[in-house]
């Protein structure tokens, strides 16, 4: 018996062990499940099938699927380290595919598809991770299909699709693409935060970069990344949006160092510059050498040269649409910069976390402060400019947001004297102020509306006061010219179905033009005089456009704008049809063409064209009709998705009618005798004519990466014809450029050191140069036989713009040294303007030497100019 006991005991243990094994077996087998295996795998641009095969081989996992059901041909990139297979599969597999482990095999199966009889809408906002800043122009699309849309100016999107499984890609330049796997069986609200960080997170599964330029219906428009504006070297270190715009093909710069620009043969008066919807009438500081846009406060910059969408109107040649940042909604941050001529600051942060934020950005020059110690106590004088951008926003709820933004800037030259006899003040100042109040309302997941109330004011003023301390007599003179606008705008975005984005809207602007106003008081002579000339005008516009996809290959943006202008003596109503179309030749290659008619009801009266503050904005009248243009463009857009490079080539032909010219001999320097302005009529000094511009533009652009930048080249011709100029004969416009090239290269050598360089080349400007002199003998009526006494020296110029200035070229180089500290990032930037010291002519004049030989002399404005700026970001 004794011998049996141990046997029994052994059996008991064996049974217990078997039972335990049976209980633990599933757990053990689970621990060894293929789905729990940790995977490390990296591959780019391969098919899903290859990924599954390679993972299977590497980790001894069997995948089972039917190729006819599972889209394993999809191209993907993957980079995972020590990640559970189950998690990898969640990211890796399309949303329509389910997986299960059966008998050690991973079986891929198709999920039950939601009913495609019904459509549902995915809508929401795309914002920036970490700041809550709304992102505009973000692509939201289903790769490999024609399904997709992009966010509007407020980060909103809406996409209506039939019920199905979708892998929605959210992609934006400079940001990490996100993929959302969606089972669309109901309307979905999808708010996405995109990370701007370039660091690759643990698991990244991205589809191919989508072709960008070739998949847009629109053409002739360029987004300029704000970061590139900051990276490009600038004159005296002052970063300038408009000077970067000048580096784009189809855009010519004016004189050396000036911010004014000429788009496809159009004058600087034909550019609509809008900041948060508010038109900016004089976009320049210091006589055009700097623009008034502070890059720190800007979110986006888009330049449109042709194929204008119907939502824009009012100028002939271009739209420069600038959007200010909203301000960080999550945390406080800021930046301060110190440069050679100015300092700047930006602060932004939440007013109420995730509800409301603000941004405040300013800049001021300090030449005046620096020279003060060198001036006598009795006499002070100087110059400064400043600008201030401010914006606040508030989320009233899910569907309503309000914004208030403003720009205030001023340039001022002044001189003061104060001695025991008298005090006097002289000033010469100009400035813009704009304010925009906006209310976004989302009516439904397909309808988004924005109402704006906009104020814009530009004023130029000369003032002089003198006070005699003994007699107490006073002399006061104030002359100013001004344009003031109040506008109301209502814009609606409607997304009725996939492949349609309808925009409709209306706007009305009340303009008050004050070409000249004088207030004059002289107590000594007992004179009091005041004169004001106000001209009022109402400009309205109604528009509708649909950006649509017709079939698989065809995209069209068709629209119409009805513009209307009323002033005292004339009423104009003019239709402006707009059409852009793109035909997809390959997935990354498209042929595009566009047609646009534009009208301009305001004229800029200036004969210098360099953005002098004395330039006057005046309305179209019965004598000076509105300007009108017709532009046709066609070209190709090709994306090199792997390299993130876009290449576009466009040809354009533009005719301009009733464009403004200045009569020969006309002058607008009226302020040397302000009291004479009463008799001054700008209408007598201008004349209307025609213009033709045509050419070809090439742009190879890389917007992101360690090495980015662009190469642009323009071949163009621009001619003008005015009955009253050049004896009615056609002539080359001053800014006619046969060749214009620019190269911009930005390279991040290390995380800490960056280098950037630009090179520009342009055919010389066409100017009128005197050729010869002779003694003119004029007839004197009634003075029979006495004509010889009436002699005058006449200068013969031949034809207008008969001479080409020397070609313009220049290279700028910048170096950025960045130091990242826990609490702040410091950047020191060195820039060298005109690094090879090219002596570009600013203007020419004739001078006779002691031998009696007359030579052409030139004045060069900027030799090589080094500068340094220091900035802290916190």
């Amino acid at each position: 018996m004794l011998t049996k006991k141990p046997v029994k005991t052994f059996k008991k243990y064996l049974l217990a062990a078997i039972a335990l094994f049976m209980v633990l077996l599933p757990q053990l087998s689970k621990a060894q499940s293929a789905l729990d295996k940790k995977i490390s795998y990296k591959a780019t641009q391969i098919t899903l099938k290859q990924v599954l095969t390679e993972i299977g081989e590497k980790y001894d996992i069997a995948f089972s699927y039917s190729e006819s059901l599972i889209p394993v041909g999809q191209i993907i990139s993957i980079n995972v380290t020590d990640k559970l297979l189950s998690e990898v599969l969640k990211e890796l597999l399309p949303s329509s595919v389910d997986y299960k482990e059966i008998n050690g095999q991973i079986v891929l199966s198709k999920k039950r598809k939601p009913s495609s009889n019904k459509t549902h809408t995915i809508s929401g906002y795309v914002t920036e991770e970490g700041s809550g800043e709304q992102l505009l122009g973000v692509n939201i699309y289903v790769p490999g299909t024609q399904l997709g849309t992009s966010t509007n100016a407020y980060g909103f999107f809406s996409l209506t699709l039939p019920g199905d499984f979708y892998d929605i890609n959210i992609s934006y330049i400079g940001y990490q693409t996100q993929v959302k796997k969606i089972t669309l069986d109901n309307d979905i609200e999808l708010n996405i935060k995109l990370s701007g960080s370039v660091e690759v997170s643990e698991v990244v599964v991205v589809a191919d970069e989508i072709p960008r330029e070739s998949q847009r219906s629109r053409m002739s428009s360029i987004d300029i990344p704000v970061q590139q504006i900051k990276d490009i070297p600038a004159l005296l270190g002052e970063k300038d949006v408009l000077k970067v715009v000048q580096l784009m093909p189809g855009v010519q710069k004016g004189n050396e160092g000036q911010s004014g620009f000429y788009v496809r043969g159009g004058g600087p008066d034909q550019n609509l510059i809008i900041l948060d919807g508010a038109p900016v009438y004089n976009a320049f500081h210091l006589f055009g050498f700097f623009s008034l846009f502070n890059g720190d406060a800007l979110k986006s910059v888009e330049l449109i040269k042709g194929g204008f969408p119907a939502q824009y109107g009012g100028r002939l040649s271009s739209v420069l649409d600038l959007h200010m940042k909203e301000g960080n909604k999550e945390k406080y941050s800021g930046e301060v910069g110190v440069g050679l001529i100015s300092s700047r600051f930006t602060v932004e942060g939440p007013l109420k976390k995730n509800k409301s934020s603000f941004i405040l950005s300013g800049r001021r020059t300090y030449i005046d402060a620096l020279i003060q110690p060198f001036l006598s106590k009795e006499e002070k004088g100087g110059y400064y400019f400043y600008d201030l951008n401010a914006k606040v926003n508030y989320d009233l709820g899910k569907k309503d947001k309000v914004y208030l933004s403003g720009y205030f800037g001023k340039d001022r030259f002044y001189a003061k004297t104060n001695n025991s006899y008298s005090t006097s003040n002289y000033g010469f100042e100009w400035g813009n102020a704009t304010a925009t109040a906006r209310w976004n309302h989302q009516y439904s997941n397909k309808v988004f509306a924005n109402a704006s109330f906009i104020f814009s004011n530009y004023r130029f003023q000369i003032s002089a006061t003198d006070k005699d301390k003994q007699s107490n007599n006073e002399f006061n003179l104030r002359f100013y010219s001004q344009i003031r606008d109040f506008s109301l705008k209502y814009d609606v975005d409607y997304y009725p179905a996939n492949g349609h984005h309808v925009k409709v809207g209306a706007m009305a602007i009340h303009h008050t033009f004050s070409p000249s106003a004088v207030v004059y008081k002289n107590t000594f002579a007992n004179e009091n005089f005041s004169a004001k000339k106000h001209i009022e005008g109402i400009e309205t516009g109604l528009y509708a456009e649909d950006d649509m996809r017709l079939g698989k290959r065809f995209r069209v943006n068709a629209g119409i704008r009805i513009s209307n202008f009323n002033n005292r003596d004339k009423h104009y109503i003019l239709p402006e049809p707009r059409l852009s179309a793109a035909y997809q030749l390959k997935s990354d290659l498209a042929f595009k063409s566009s047609f646009a008619i534009m009208n301009q009801y305001m004229h800029l009266v200036s004969n210098t064209g360099i953005g002098l503050p004395t330039d006057l904005w005046v309305p179209a009248t019965s004598k000076v009709p509105p300007q009108r243009s017709m532009q046709l463009a066609a070209g190709f857009a090709k994306d090199f998705t792997k390299q993130n490079v876009t290449f576009t080539v466009e040809g354009y032909y533009k005719e301009m009618y009733n464009i403004l010219g200045y009569k020969e001999g006309a002058t607008f320097l009226i302020f040397d005798d302000p009291l004479s302005t009463n008799d001054y009529s700008w209408e007598e000094n201008v004349t209307s004519g025609k213009g033709w511009s045509y050419g070809a533009e090439f742009l190879l652009q890389k917007k992101k990466g360690r090495f980015n930048g662009w190469i642009g080249y323009t071949l163009s011709w621009t001619q003008l014809q005015f009955d009253e100029l050049n004896f009615g004969k056609k002539y080359w416009a001053r800014y006619d450029r046969r060749h214009d090239a620019s190269v911009v290269a930005i390279y991040k050598i290390t995380e800490r050191i960056g280098i950037s360089a630009t090179w520009v080349y342009g055919t010389g400007q066409a100017i009128t140069l005197p050729r010869a002199n002779y003694t003119g003998v004029l007839h004197s009526p009634g003075d029979f036989g006495g004509t010889v006494n009436n002699q005058t020296t006449i200068t013969d110029y031949g034809e207008k713009n008969n001479f080409r200035m020397a070609p313009y070229h220049r290279m700028d180089i910048g170096f950025r040294f960045t130091k990242v500290r826990p609490k702040y990032t410091r950047t020191i930037e060195w820039s060298f303007y005109n690094v090879y010291n090219r002596k570009n002519p600013f203007f020419y004049y004739a001078s006779t030497d002691s031998q009696g030989v007359s030579k052409l002399k030139q004045i060069t404005l900027f030799p090589i100019i080094p500068s340094v700026t220091l900035s802290y970001k916190f």
Binding site: T608, A772, T775, V777, H779, L856
Partner: protein
């Protein structure tokens, strides 16, 4: 890099490249290589006692500057379509010119005249013009008045003469007019002397066309001149009196009009103003050959 180092470099570089004078001879440009050109100027008018043609050479702006030379060895001929008349050199006080014998060359309205000028060194130019008919003088009207005020700051009496003129445009075709007037004044010290003081208004030019006014009323209004009447006493040497007005209404051809209109504005002296190109209808050269028909109305107070 330390900030101090950056500052050091800034100072060094700014000093090294401190703004030197940036004026220099223009380079990389093709200057127009202009040879001196033949300049021919002249007006045909039935009212002028003689037809004068001025011939000279232009002086190129760039290169060796030469003084104005009136050409005295040119061959100058005018033809009215049937007769060709050679013109003869004469010397005036300021310039030499070529004159046509008024008996041989009659200047008549409606006729087209051709001018040829050549020089021994091979330069040769020509031009053409047609003499216009007189303006519609039957419709010519005018009115004038004078007022006098004591100018406190100048300390004397000033008399202002004002004048309005109007006439009807000849309907059909483009017409070019030149209309204006002079006040005839005399110094108190010499009442028989005639001094002509040009009358102006704010529009300043006496040239106008009938563009957009064909067959309508043309006018020059608010012409005025101020005469200093009593300065330095009743018989002071700076005292003048108006004694009449001499008005002119000239119907001119396009060439006459365009040349005079542009030449008057050619040099405004304002560096910011657009350069004014001066009209030229001399084929192969510079200058003008134009015609006009003059109507003169003189009134004495």
């Amino acid at each position: 890099m330390k900030i101090v180092q950056h500052i050091k470099y800034t100072v060094l570089i700014v000093v090294a490249f401190s703004f030197a004078s940036c004026e220099r001879d223009a380079k990389n440009v093709d200057l127009p290589t202009i040879q001196p050109q033949l300049v021919v100027q002249g007006v045909l008018s039935p009212q002028e006692p003689e037809t004068k043609i001025y011939v000279s050479l232009s002086s190129p702006v760039f290169g060796t500057v030469s003084s104005q030379d009136w050409i005295q060895n040119a061959t100058v001929q005018i033809s009215d379509g049937t007769t060709t008349v050679p013109l003869l050199l004469e010397f005036g006080s300021l310039a030499s010119y070529y004159v046509a014998d008024s008996l041989k060359l009659k200047i008549q309205a409606g006729k087209t005249y051709t001018l040829w000028v050549s020089t021994p060194n091979g330069k040769s130019v020509n031009s053409k013009c047609t003499v216009p008919f007189p303006a519609d003088t039957t419709s010519f009207k005018y009115n004038w008045d004078t007022t006098s005020v004591y100018n406190t700051s100048a300390g004397g009496i000033e008399r202002t003469v004002r004048l309005n003129m109007e006439w009807r445009d000849i309907a059909g075709g483009a017409n070019y007019y030149r209309a204006g007037a002079d006040v005839i004044v005399y110094p108190v010290s010499n009442p028989s002397q005639d001094i002509f003081e040009r009358m102006y208004n704010n529009a300043s030019s006496d040239m106008q066309t009938d563009k957009n006014k064909d067959g309508g009323i043309m006018a020059r209004r608010d012409l005025m001149t101020t005469v200093s009447e009593y300065f330095g006493g009743q018989t002071g040497s700076f005292s003048f009196r108006p004694k009449g007005i001499k008005m002119y209404l000239v119907n001119c051809d396009e060439h006459y009009y365009k040349f005079h209109e542009s030449a008057n504005r050619n040099d405004s002296g304002d560096p910011f103003s657009e350069p004014v190109l001066v009209y030229n209808n001399i084929v192969g050269g510079l200058g003008y050959f134009g015609a006009c028909n003059q109507f003169i109305k003189e009134i004495r107070f």
